[in-house]
Structures are given as C-alpha cells and as structure tokens.
C-alpha cells in the first residue's frame, strides 16, 4: 500500500507533462466557476452599493403611518430595520428665488432614517437635535439662496392648501398662472434652525417637488404631523408579499407604500413573477452550461492520458497488484491532484477577475470625473459558489480517475499494456480513405485521417474540448445578446448626443452650422435631418398587428372613402451619415439608389391571461419587403385649414434595416421611417429641415463653437449627455459586464483547447519520432499536422455549431417570456467561432509541432512514456 503510493508519486513526477495537464485541466474548470461567480457577485454587489448610495438603502417607504401601525411594524419579526421621519411642514422664504420651488420642505429624520435614505453631505455635519438643519446644495444653485453653514434661519412654517385640501411634495407648485389655480400657504408656527451642513439633493425629492428638502433630527413623536417610515426586511425576497400582508392586516393604503424597486431589482427580486421566473431559468441555464463544461474539462484532462494510464495500471496488475491496491493508488493520485489544482484554480479564477475589475475600475475612475458615478467595483468572492465548485471538482476527479482503473480491471493486463482497446480495428475494412483526400494531402493526409479514425479516444477528447468551447461561446453570446437586447430597450444605446432644432431655419444657415460642427474637435458624425411627411393607405400597407395596435378601422379606407390615411415619415440625413448607415445595415449604394431603406421595429406591451407583468412584443407596421413599391400621397394645408391631397407618387423599398438611423428615437414611438439619400429627398421635394444631429466626445465644446455662430441657439439645442448621464452609465456598465463575461468565457475556452491539443501532441511524440526516423521530412510532417488540424476543426464545428445554435434558441425562448423579438440567428458568434477555432487549432498545433521538432529522434523513441 505504502509502496504503491510512492510509485504513484514517482509516476506523477516522471510523467510530469501529463500531471501538469491534468492539474491545469482541473484548475481551469475550478477557475471557470470561480471566475464567473466572482465576476457576477462583484458586479452585483457594486450595483447594489451604487443604488444604495444614490437612492438609499431601504426596501420600502410607508407614509401616513399611525402610531399603532408604527408599533406593529417595529415589533414585526420580518423587519430588519426601520427609520422614522415626520414632516414638519413647508417654510416660505424670500431667500429662494426659484419660481417653481419657493419652499423649504422640512423633514425630521431619525438616525436610522438618515442612514437609510443615503443622505450624502458635501459640507458640515448631520443635525444632532431638532434645532439643527441640513439644506440641499441646489438651494444655493438654482434656488440662488445665500445660505452657509453656521447661519441661523428663522422661518414661518405651515402648510400648503388648495380649496381646503392639503398639498404635499407630489403636488407641484400651483402659482395661478396659465389655467392653474393658486395655492395658499398658511403659516402655523415660527421655527428657528441653525444650518449645520449641506447635502446632495436627496434622491427621494422628485424634480417637480415645490419644496427643497431640508433635514432636521427627529427626537420624539410630534403630534399632528404625518409620520413616514423607511424599512428593510431581513429577507428581501419577502418584500412584495410583506406589502400585501400589511395592506391587509394594518389597512395601510397601497398608494402610501412605495417599494424601492431599483434596489430590489439589483438584488435579483422583481415585482413581476414573470421576470423572476425568466431570470431564474436563465441563471439556471447559465449555471448548468458552466457546470457541465467544467465537469467535462476535468474529465477530459484525465481522458487524454487514459491510454497511458491504463497501460501503466496493466503493468502494475501484471506484476501482481490487486484491484484494490490499484484503486487505492489511483484515489491517492486523485487526492494529490485535487489538493494541488483546486486551490490553484481558485487562485487563477480570482486573480483573473481581480485583474479584469482593476482594469475596468481604472477605466471608469480614470481621468478625473468617473465615467459612472458611485460605481466602485470591488472584488466580492461568493464563498458558497466556491464551496460548490470544490465539491463538484472533487466528485469529478474521483469519477474521472477511477475510469482507467475500471477499464484496466475489465481487460487482461496484456491488453492494457498493448493498448488494444484504444486502437480501433473494427472498421479496418472500410478504411479506404477517399480518393480526393489522397490526392490533395498525399500520404500525410492519409496517415492523419487514419489516426483520426483508428485512435478515436484521443481525438474525441480534443474535439470534445473544442466542441465544448464552441457551444459555451455561442450560448453565452446568446445570453448576452438577449440580456442586452432586453436592457437596450430600457436604455437606448443612442450614438448621438446633441441635437439642434432647425425648424424655420434656412437651408444656408443649416449648412453653415453643419460645417462648423464638423470642424469642431472631437466631433465624429454630423447629420442634417430633413423630413417629409406623407400619407399612405393602411388597408394596403399596414400589417394586421399594426392595424390592431393603432386601433385603425379599415372601413374608413378604400377607393370611395375620402379619409386620407396614415402618416409616414421620409427622412434624409446627409451624404456621409447616409453612406455609413447603408454600410451598417448591409445594403449597397447601388441597391439603395432611387429607393428608400425601411426602419420599422416597434414594441407594444402585451398582457396575458393569468400572468402578471406585461410582455414586450416587437412588431412591424408596414407589410413591405425589399423591392416592394408603395403609393403615397402628399398633403398641403387647404383653404379651410384642412388637409388636401396634392397627388399620388410611388416609392420603392431597398430593404429593411435592423438598426435605426442616427437621430431616431422611433422605436418607442411606434412609427415606421423611410431613409433616403439627400439627392432623392431633393427629387421628392417639399421637405422640411428638421434638425442637426451630432455625435461627439464633448458636447460642451461643440455647443460653445455653435454659440459663436448664433447665441440664439440655446433654446434649440438638446444635450443628451447632460440629460442622460445615468442612463449612459447604465449602458456602459451593462456593456462592461456582458463583454467582460464573454471575455472570461472565451479565455477559459481557449486555454482548455490549448491544453488538450498540446497534451495530445506531446503524448504522440514517440509516434512522430518513428515517422521521422523512417524518413518523414519536416515539411511532410507539417502537412500532416495541418491536415489533422483541419479535421479537428471541421469535426468540432460540425457538432458544435448546431448544438450551440440549438442552445441559443432555447435561451431565446426563455427570454421571450418577458420580451419578444424575432429570433436573431447567431451569425456573428458562428463566424467568430469558425475563425477562432481554426486559428487556435493551427496556432496550437504549430506551437506543439515546434516543440517536437527540437527533440532528439532516438531519445524520443526510447522514452516510451513522456
């Protein structure tokens, strides 16, 4: 027993290459699980922290809470923490100059509530008693107040009413202008506060609120003031059922309960069961694929040396080792392998993610203002996942290492020694390599393909590892694609960031502006959008879905009717943008000449029986395809201010585009757009200048340049960067996450393939040496190896692609539960797989070939095992 263990260790040392490969294989598999889970949990934690910092750390707020209700909530076992606040009232002061926001809204918060609501001080300190107050910094900015820390404010505090009804922060200021009625402010008391700090605008203050939130300390219950609480549950999962419970048990009105949905969503809890289910199934698929892959990576790393191992065991058996002894020695080997490789795998996986996060962080934080606010990626290791992967690896190592023992015990020792089981002779007769193979690749090709057929196991192992990498890549891409498709609906990945309204401007003026914009540094693209509105007959050109969605009654249409029809937009964007758009959507200039490109992807929300939440369904409005011609009418305003048609014309569709043109926000609006060239727009005539659309690095700079031409532009410019910073940050975060995920998966896949191929090649050194010793030249040898590479790649792709596509379709099916688009065939990932598979195989084979080329022929032949 002892002796056998020693032999095992000696053997492992002697067959260093094989041991290293096995260790690497196990480590890779552990690293895969470790990297993926660490990556996900790091991202999730950072997102949760971001939301907590920005929007507060609580699960729900409840307003207008009575004393009994408060008592009940305080004593509830489900509640983890509860923060109490009371509204002191509105204070009117001349200091505030903002017409829509003339009040301070004074709130008293207890310590827990201050913490939960994520109050961020920019100056001073938090209030320590009910005489002290913290004011938000925007009182000083758009409120233009002259307050500073240390000032004492004496304020009339009271309530806002209209027709006897109390108003709160959700009711904007009613100033009596326009058709609004005028609200009344009634002072009830006079209060004196000392300003002790200045804070960021609290996220719970909505933009249309009439009062700036000021915060003082809540010390004791105040009679006659409404009380609100923020609370967190011990188990976030129970939030939505908890809400139902308190509605029922405490009689709290649903409208007074506000769940913190964005935080809960980051923690993986969604209001809609449908979303919950979908995400659970998607996560399950991802986990299943990853576990399956890593299990097989381990199995594979053992299989590659199965033949040698079996032979070794046969040898041991032939000199009289019992089956039990052999089994024990193998388990011993498994223990050694596991002890080395599992921690190594953890280390590698966490290290890899650590590096990725560091890079991402330096990108986000680099250069002064962070690209994404409040987003600090820290490494969070999920220990549960690590424990699971350790156990899984142990089981896989156990099973895989017993395989050669079982094999060896089933056959006679001499058969094991002679590798009888591993060289397949059954199809000896059929082995007539086809003629063309012989002709193209000669004997080398023939040897390669015979090797391929007769020494199946090793080939299968290699092919299997490539195959796994392919399906891993394609299916994960599909997860990413679907998640991205899903999220890009919420966060349009808009490419442009500045628009300038040009209605009622002259064409020369527009041209001048465009030139100026183009010359500004950091400007990438400028489009000058022209529009033409035309009328079409929906009974002819609308899809049934569109007719249903838009609620069009077809009775109104047809020859006899005088209803004009539905509106359709034709736009042109300037030559440069038009050309690059054509390229982007894959339509050639010739194809598009004299025709229009159709962008027509629209979304509606569908409620389904028995399911909560709605499902996004995408549909098309026009029933036109490439080559179809459509008749439209143009209208003019007639004498009695009604639309009159000015004639019929025709337009032909050059093709459908799957991406919106620059400047389009159409997908939300449910309209179809035809994109034409500038020249064609001119030919169509009667268009209007719409706007200039700019994609640039720095909107401030461009604006500055444009103001030089016309300071009056201030009213017409819309700066998306300013407006949508957080939205853009989200897109950035999601992209980083998804591409990072794919990168991790790809690296692991490539390493696995590399590992398997180099081992396979190393194990065949002896065979190669014999071939060389009987006179195979380097060139012929390379030819043989290249041919083998071709066989590997083709075979792996033939099996991998269809299964990858199948899986991707399955994943798509799962996501259609909450979000429906037509299935996008993964052409991109397939193309990438094909190129990469061959590239990696060829590079790896070349690499291992280089290594064998340096070896001494006879030494290699003599070393039976290496």
């Amino acid at each position: 027993m002892k002796m056998l263990n020693e032999i095992t260790i000696k053997n492992m040392k002697k067959n260093r290459k094989r041991s290293i490969v096995t260790i690497l294989g196990i480590s890779l598999s552990v690293a895969l699980i470790c990297a993926v889970t660490t990556f996900v949990s790091s991202f999730q934690t950072s997102m949760v922290n971001r939301v907590k910092a920005k929007e507060g750390d609580y699960h729900m707020t409840i307003s207008s809470v009575t004393n009994e209700q408060l008592q009940y909530l305080k004593e509830n076992v489900q509640v983890e923490k509860i923060g109490i606040s009371q509204t002191i009232g509105y204070a009117k002061t001349e200091e505030l100059k903002n017409e829509d926001k003339p009040y301070l809204s004074i709130e008293a918060l207890d310590e827990m509530d201050i913490q939960s609501k994520g109050i961020t001080l920019t100056q001073g300190r938090l209030p320590q008693n009910d005489q002290e107050i913290v004011i938000p910094e925007h009182t000083l900015q758009n409120g233009e107040a002259k307050w500073k820390v240390g000032d004492t404010l004496t304020l009339p505090v009271g309530e806002r009413t209209i027709e006897g009804e109390n108003l709160n922060q959700h009711n904007p200021y009613l100033d009596g202008k326009d058709d609004d009625s005028l609200e009344t402010f009634t002072a009830k008391e006079t209060k004196t506060y000392q300003i002790v700090g200045i804070m960021e605008r609290p996220s719970f203050e909505n933009y249309s609120a009439p009062g700036y939130t000021a915060i003082t300390k809540w010390e004791k219950p105040l009679a006659g003031k409404t009380t609100s609480v923020t609370l967190s549950l011990k188990k976030p999962k129970e939030v939505y059922s908890f809400v139902k419970d308190i509605e029922k048990n405490l009689g709290i009105l649903g409208e007074n309960i506000d769940t913190h949905d964005s935080l809960l969503a980051q923690e993986g809890i969604f209001k809609s069961d449908r979303t919950n289910e979908t995400i659970a199934v998607l996560a399950l698929i991802v986990i299943a694929i990853i576990i399956f892959t890593s299990a097989f990576v381990i199995r594979n790393s053992f299989t590659i040396s199965l033949t040698e191992k079996t032979r070794e065991l046969g040898m041991l058996a032939s000199i009289g080792a019992t089956a039990k002894q052999i089994r024990n020695s193998i388990l011993w080997e498994g223990v050694i392998l596991g002890v080395i490789s599992v921690p190594l795998g953890f280390f590698l996986g966490i290290l890899a993610i650590g590096i990725v996060l560091m890079i991402v962080n330096s990108i986000i934080q680099g250069g002064g203002t962070p690209l994404v606010d409040h987003f600090d990626l820290t490494l969070v290791v999920s220990w549960q996942a690590i424990a699971v992967s350790a156990i899984l690896s142990a089981i896989m190592i156990f099973i895989s290492s017993l395989r050669p023992a079982i094999r060896a015990s089933k056959i006679a020792p001499i058969d094991a020694i002679r590798e009888n089981k591993d060289i397949n002779i059954k199809n000896r007769k059929k082995l007539k390599t086809s003629q063309w193979l012989g002709r193209i690749f000669g004997v080398e090709g023939e040897i390669a393909s015979k090797n391929f057929k007769r020494s199946k196991r090793k080939y299968r192992t290699t092919i299997f590892s490539i195959f796994l990498s392919i399906i891993l890549f394609i299916s994960m891409n599909s997860v990413v694609d679907n998640v991205f498709g899903f999220s890009s609906l919420e966060f349009q990945d808009r490419k442009y960031n500045l628009t300038v309204n040009l209605y009622e401007k002259t064409e020369e003026y527009a041209q001048q502006l465009t030139e100026q914009a183009k010359q500004t540094e950091g400007v990438k693209q400028v489009a000058l959008e022209k529009r033409k509105s035309v009328i079409i007959d929906p009974s002819k050109y609308y899809t049934p879905e569109a007719i249903e969605q838009k609620g069009i009654s077809l009775k109104n249409y047809g020859e006899q009717s005088n209803t004009v029809g539905e509106n359709l937009q034709i736009v042109s964007l300037g030559n440069d943008v038009y050309q690059s758009y054509l390229k982007e959507v894959g339509i050639s200039v010739e194809e598009a000449k004299g025709k229009a490109v159709l962008y027509d992807t629209n979304i509606y929300y569908q409620q389904e029986e028995g399911k909560d939440g709605s499902k996004r369904v995408s549909y098309e409005i026009l029933n036109l395809e490439k080559g179809d011609t459509m008749t439209y009418e143009t209208t003019a305003t007639g004498e009695q201010d009604q639309a009159v048609t000015t004639g019929k014309k025709e337009i032909t569709i050059a093709g459908r585009a799957d991406k919106p043109p620059m400047g389009a926000l159409y997908s939300g609006y449910n309209i179809a757009v035809l994109i034409v060239s500038d020249q064609m727009m001119k030919e169509l005539g009667d268009y209007t200048l719409s706007k200039m659309i700019i994609e640039c690095d720095n909107t401030a700079k461009v604006k500055e340049e444009l103001y030089k031409i016309d300071t009056g532009l201030k009213e017409d410019i819309f700066d998306y960067d300013e407006q949508n910073q957080s939205e853009q940050s989200m897109v950035l975060i999601i992209s980083i996450f998804l591409y990072g995920f794919i990168a991790v998966i790809s690296v692991i896949g490539v390493t696995n393939v590399f590992n398997t191929i180099t081992t396979n090649m190393a194990l065949r050194n002896r065979e190669f040496a014999i071939l060389k010793s009987i006179g195979m030249t380097q060139k012929e040898f390379r030819k043989m190896i290249h041919f083998e590479s071709l066989l590997y790649g083709t075979k792996a792709l033939v099996f991998g692609l269809p299964i990858g596509v199948l899986l991707s379709y399955g994943i798509y099916k799962v996501t259609t539960n909450i979000y429906e688009t037509p299935y996008r065939f993964p052409w991109g990932p397939i193309a990438i797989s094909i190129v990469f598979v061959f590239a990696i195989i060829f590079i790896t084979m070349r690499y291992s070939m280089k290594k064998t080329e340096g070896l001494n022929t006879i030494d290699t032949i003599r070393q039976e095992n290496n």
Binding site: R428, I770, G775, Q778
Partner: protein
C-alpha cells in the same frame, strides 16, 4: 569506395559525475556491398552506434559519412529524405506505427517518398516474411516476431543502399531466423546493398564478411571473415 565512414564517433549521456560514455571515439569505414556483423555484450554500445550511423541520434563528438556526405551536416529535411531513400533501419524494439496496418507500415517509406508501391516486390517481401495473411492487421495484433518481421519489411521496401539491423532475429525461431538472414543476404547480393547487423547469434556473425566487436563503447576487434 567506402559507402559509410565513421570518424571519432563519441556519444555520452548525462553530466559529469554520472556521465555514461556509451560510445567512445570510434572510427571505421565500410565499403559498398559489405556485410558487417557487430557483436558485443549487452550495454556495450551497439545500438547507440547503429542509431548514429542511421542518422536518428546525434553524436556528442565525431562524424558519420554516407556516400561522401557528412550526414550530421545535412539539414533536417535533407536528412529525413536521405534516411528514407538510403537507409533501412530495423530497430531492436520494432517501433511500428500502432495505427497503421502491416501493409501500411511496410509501404510507408515508399509512399512518403511519393513513389508508387512496387506491388510485386511487396508481395514477394510479404511472402518471404511470412506475413501474407496478416496484411491488414494492426501491430498490437501481432506476435513479437511478426512485428519484428514487419519492421524488416519496412526497412527493405525502398531497397536502400544500407540496411542497419539491430538484432533482426532476436525474437525468431531458428527456421525463421534462417529465412530472414537469407533474405538480407540475398538482398545484399542482388542489389549490392551494404548490410550492418547487430547480433548475439554466432552463426549469423560467422556468415558476415566482417565482424566488429565492441566493448565498453570501444572497438576491441575488427576482423574479416574467412
């Protein structure tokens, strides 16, 4: 004319304290058509010498000339082509390609050379080697002697100028041994091939034109026969 010349050939293994001198400054030459037997105790360096002569090993020192060219000066490919055309090597431990059948193994050097297989010669070889009913078997289905015969066939298939055989009859009964030696000799006479055979069998050594005796990596005796 000498077809093969060995000059100060030395082969050592390992580093200084544990250094093994397998071959120690050996020089001799063999004229074309000669049948040479190399004899010596086990571990004396015979196989090492043969491998060096066949260009499948690298000497630590010294040179090997075949038909006037210094084979260790040739580049990889030239050496490989040289091997398959000029040298037939029969290994002590066969070294067949496990995935190829008997016929495929034997014809491999010819086919690597891009030449057509001489079917009648192949048939004749297979007949003499007693392998005609084993054509489509894989090496691991053969007995040791049969494998040895396949490796002999492989070495002879290209009718090389030199045949280097490392104990070609080590696993054969006396009748089969006889036949193999006759085949080698016939080939030696018919095609004027040079034949170098390592053997422990005195009877075979006595049939050679010349016997070289090796001891501890050195030639201790080099004598012509009869």
């Amino acid at each position: 004319m000498d077809i093969l010349k060995v000059e100060n050939l030395t082969k050592t293994y390992g580093k200084k304290p544990n250094e093994v001198i397998a071959l120690n400054d050996v020089s001799f030459s063999i004229p074309k058509g000669q049948f040479v037997a190399i004899v010596g105790a086990s571990g004396s360096g015979k196989s090492t010498l043969l491998h060096l002569m066949g260009g499948v090993d690298r000497p630590s020192k010294g040179k090997v000339w075949i038909e006037g060219s210094d084979i260790y000066q040739l580049n990889h490919d030239a050496l490989a082509i040289f091997r398959r055309r000029q040298v037939g090597l029969i290994y002590q431990f066969y070294n067949l390609i496990p995935i190829l059948t008997v016929k495929e193994n034997i014809t491999l050097p010819t086919r690597l050379d891009g030449k057509k297989v001489d079917e009648s010669y192949l048939k004749e070889l297979l007949y003499i080697l007693g392998l005609e009913d084993r054509i489509n078997h894989l090496p691991n289905e053969l007995s040791g002697g049969q494998q040895q015969r396949v490796s002999i066939g492989r070495a002879m298939m290209n009718r090389p100028a030199i045949i280097l055989a490392d104990e070609p009859t080590g696993n054969l009964d006396s009748k089969s041994s006889r036949e193999i030696i006759d085949l080698l000799k016939l080939s030696n006479q018919k095609y004027h091939q040079t034949l170098v055979v390592i053997t422990h069998d005195e009877n075979i050594a006595l049939e050679a034109d010349r016997i070289i005796t090796i001891q501890d990596g050195k030639i201790v005796k080099d004598e012509m026969n009869g």
